[in-house]
C-alpha cells in the first residue's frame, strides 16, 4: 500500500488542534521529546517499511 498523501483524517482542524494542545505548556525540550515519542508510536503503527521509507523521503522535501 503506498503512502497516503491525500486527505485521510476526519475533521483535520480538530486533529490539528489536539496536536497543538498536546504540546501546550511544554518547554522546547519537552516538546521535542513528545514529538520523538509520537513519531516512534506512529511508525510502529504503520509498520510497513516501504511506507515508512516513502514518508521519510516526503518529509525530507522542503
Amino acid at each position: 500500500m503506498p503512502l497516503i498523501l491525500d486527505p485521510n483524517i476526519d475533521d483535520a482542524d480538530g486533529f490539528y488542534d489536539e496536536l497543538l494542545a498536546a504540546h501546550h505548556g511544554l518547554t522546547k525540550a519537552e516538546s521535542d521529546a513528545l514529538n520523538a515519542r509520537l513519531i516512534l508510536i506512529l511508525a510502529n503503527h504503520v509498520g510497513d517499511r516501504a511506507v515508512l521509507r516513502q514518508a521519510l523521503e516526503v518529509a525530507r522535501e522542503k
Binding site: 521535542d32 521529546a33 520523538a36 515519542r37 513519531i39 516512534l40 508510536i41 510502529n44
Partner: protein, 544 residues
C-alpha cells in the same frame, strides 16, 4: 627473556620459548606460518594441523595474555570449537546466562529472557575469559600433536621484518637468543588490531574511529548478584559515565564496564582508588571485592579493503575491527579461521586452485561488513552523536518501560549470529522450493538432535552429502575431494521433529551438499549426480 624482546605478563604460560634448529640454519621454508597466538591464530593452526597440513605458529608472547578481554563466546564459535575437539572444557568452565535487564537512570526499562531454542548441543553463548578460551585451544593442539598433527607453536618469537616474494613470504624473527629468518609459502596474519604484518606491508584500514573511552574493571567477589546481564543507559551512580555494564564470568569474576568519555587522563582513570570509587558507587555500600584486572579501551569499526594480498592473508582483528557491543570481535575471527582452514588445506594439497582463497575475502569481507553494520548501529544508540539522536534514544527508553514495541529499538549490542554467504560465488542454487530460510545455501548448518547425538557431530570438517528421506546417488571421482555421505530418515533419526523443521519445512525429502565449515553449498528435493558434482566444483572454485 633477553634484551630486545619485551615479555608481556601472561595468564597461562602455554608455549615457553625454546631454541629450535631453524635458528641455526639458512632460512627454512614452511608451508604455513601463522603469526599471532590469539583465539584466531590458535583455531586456524589447530584446524590446519588436524587436516594434516603442516603449520608453524609464531607468537611474541609465551601464552595467553592478561585480562579477560573477550568474554562472550557465541554458539557458532562453540560449534566450531566442538568440531576442533576443544569445546568441552569451554562449556564446563563457561557461565551460561539468559536473563538481561536494561536500566535507564534509576528505572528498570525492561528485562528479557533469551530462552534459547531447544535442540542444539551448545547454548546461545557462554561467558568465559579469553585466556581460558586460548588455553583450551592450546590443550586441543597438544592433543592433536600427540596424535600426529603437524603443528608447531613457537613462543617468544616476534616477527620483526617481512617481505613478500613471488611464491613465498620471507620473515625475520627475533627471539631471546637473537634473530633468525624463515620463509612461508603462505603467511596468515592473526596478529590483532595492531598487526605488525599489516604495517610491514603498508596496508591500511577503512572505517570509523569512535571518540570514546571505556573502563573495564574485572572484580572478584562472592556477593549474591544474579547471573544476569545488567546494562544501564545514563547510570545513576557517581562517575559511571554514559553507560555501564555488569556481567558474570567464571571464577567469581564480574565484568564492570563504564563509558567514561573522550577527554580523559588514562593513567589517572586507572589509579586503583579512582577505579574503586566507581565500583563502590555501582555495587553499593558494604560489598567486598578485589580488583582482578582493569583496562581503558577505545574502539574502531573498520576493515581492510582486501583480506588477501598474494600469499599473505589476514584474519580476525588484524583484518577487521568492531565495537565490543554484540560480541562480534573474537566470534567473527573464529569464523574467519573456520572459513580459511579448509580452503587453504585444499589449495596446498593441489585439490583446488588458489583462487579459492579469494572466496575467503569475499565471504569474510561480507561477514565483516555485517558485523560492522550491527556494531556501528549499537554504538550510535549507546552514544548518540547529535541532539536529535539523543532525543530519539531517550524517547525509545522512555516508551520501552511501558510498551513492548519500543523494546525492539533498544540496542546495547545484537548478539553475534553466523553470517550467511548469500549470493557469493561458492554458494549454489536453492532448488528446495519453500525450504526453511535458515538452512538456505550460504547458511551455517543449524544443529538438531538425532536419535544418537547431534547433527553437527556428523559433519566432521569435510564435504558432506546429506540425504533426508532421500536416496543418495553413487558418486565417484569427485575431483579427488572426500565426500562423506550421511543418509538420515526422519522416521527414525529425528526424535524431536527439529531436523525436519530445520531442513525440510514443507518438503518431504531433501539432499544437501555441505562444506567442510558446515555451511550449505546447495540443496535439492532429490539427488542428481550432475547437479551435485557441479555444485561441488563451484564450491572449490573450479571453473565450468
Amino acid at each position: 627473556m633477553g634484551p630486545g624482546l619485551r615479555a608481556d605478563p601472561v595468564s597461562f604460560r602455554l608455549y615457553p620459548y625454546a631454541r629450535v634448529p631453524d635458528q641455526d640454519a639458512p632460512a627454512r621454508r614452511h608451508a604455513v606460518v601463522v603469526v599471532g597466538g590469539g583465539p584466531v591464530g590458535l583455531a586456524l593452526a589447530l584446524d590446519l594441523g588436524r587436516r594434516g597440513t603442516p603449520v608453524l605458529l609464531l607468537d611474541d608472547n609465551e601464552g595467553a595474555g592478561q585480562g579477560s578481554r573477550a568474554i562472550c563466546f557465541a554458539k557458532r564459535t562453540l560449534e566450531i570449537a566442538h568440531r576442533l575437539g576443544a569445546a568441552t572444557p569451554m562449556l564446563d568452565k563457561g557461565v551460561v546466562w539468559n536473563v538481561g535487564r536494561v536500566f535507564h537512570g534509576e528505572h528498570q526499562v525492561f528485562e528479557f529472557d533469551l530462552q534459547p531454542e531447544t535442540g542444539h548441543r551448545n547454548p546461545a553463548f557462554i561467558n568465559l575469559q579469553q585466556p581460558y578460551f586460548e588455553r583450551f585451544l592450546v590443550d586441543a593442539i597438544r592433543t592433536a600433536q600427540a596424535e600426529g598433527a603437524p603443528i608447531e607453536l613457537r613462543g617468544g618469537n616476534r616477527v620483526t621484518a617481512m617481505t613478500q616474494e613471488a611464491d613465498h613470504a620471507a620473515l625475520e624473527v627475533t627471539t631471546p637468543d637473537g634473530a633468525y629468518t624463515l620463509e612461508a609459502d603462505w603467511l596468515i596474519a592473526c596478529d590483532g588490531a595492531h598487526s605488525s604484518i599489516r604495517d610491514f606491508m603498508g596496508l591500511e584500514f577503512e572505517g570509523r574511529v569512535f571518540e570514546d573511552n571505556f573502563l573495564i574493571a574485572d572484580v572478584r567477589m562472592t556477593a549474591g548478584f544474579p547471573t544476569e546481564r545488567w546494562f544501564w543507559f545514563a547510570p545513576p551512580f557517581e562517575g559511571a559515565g554514559k553507560s555501564a555494564l555488569l556481567h558474570k564470568q567464571p571464577d567469581d569474576i564480574w565484568r564492570l564496564d563504564f563509558q567514561i568519555g573522550w577527554d580523559i587522563d588514562r593513567a589517572a582513570e586507572l589509579a586503583p582508588e579512582k577505579v574503586r570509587a566507581r565500583v563502590d558507587a555501582m555495587l553499593g555500600p558494604g560489598v567486598e571485592y578485589d580488583l582482578d584486572w582493569t583496562s581503558v579501551y577505545t574502539f574502531q569499526c573498520r576493515r581492510m579493503r582486501r583480506f588477501r594480498h598474494g600469499r599473505v592473508l589476514f584474519a580476525g582483528d588484524a583484518a577487521h575491527q568492531v565495537s565490543p557491543f554484540g560480541a562480534r570481535g573474537a566470534n567473527s575471527g573464529i569464523q574467519d579461521a573456520d572459513n580459511l582452514a579448509w580452503k587453504l588445506d585444499l589449495v596446498i594439497r593441489g585439490q583446488a586452485p588458489d583462487t579459492l582463497l579469494d572466496s575467503y575475502c569475499q565471504e569474510r569481507g561480507s561477514g565483516a561488513d555485517e558485523n560492522i553494520l550491527h556494531s556501528t548501529r549499537a554504538t550510535d544508540f549507546l552514544t548518540p552523536k547529535s541532539e536529535i539522536s539523543q532525543i530519539f534514544r531517550d524517547a525509545v527508553l522512555g516508551l520501552a518501560r511501558r510498551h513492548a514495541f519500543a523494546r525492539s529499538f533498544v540496542n546495547s549490542g545484537r548478539l553475534s549470529e553466523p553470517c550467511v554467504y548469500d549470493d557469493l560465488p561458492l554458494t549454489g542454487a536453492d532448488a528446495l522450493t519453500d525450504g526453511p530460510a535458515r538452512t538456505r545455501p550460504g547458511a551455517a548448518c543449524v544443529d538438531a538432535p538425532l536419535a544418537d547425538g547431534f547433527l553437527l557431530d556428523r559433519l566432521p570438517g569435510e564435504f558432506v552429502l546429506l540425504g533426508l528421506n532421500a536416496p543418495l546417488p553413487d558418486l565417484a571421482g569427485m575431483e579427488g575431494i572426500t565426500l562423506h555421505r550421511l543418509a538420515l530418515d526422519c522416521a527414525t533419526d529425528d526424535p524431536t521433529g527439529a531436523l525436519a523443521a530445520r531442513y525440510l519445512g514443507a518438503a518431504a525429502q531433501a539432499v544437501y551438499l555441505i562444506r567442510p565449515d558446515q555451511h550449505v553449498v546447495a540443496r535439492w528435493p532429490d539427488a542428481q549426480a550432475g547437479a551435485i558434482t557441479a555444485a561441488l566444483r563451484r564450491a572449490i572454485a573450479l571453473k565450468g
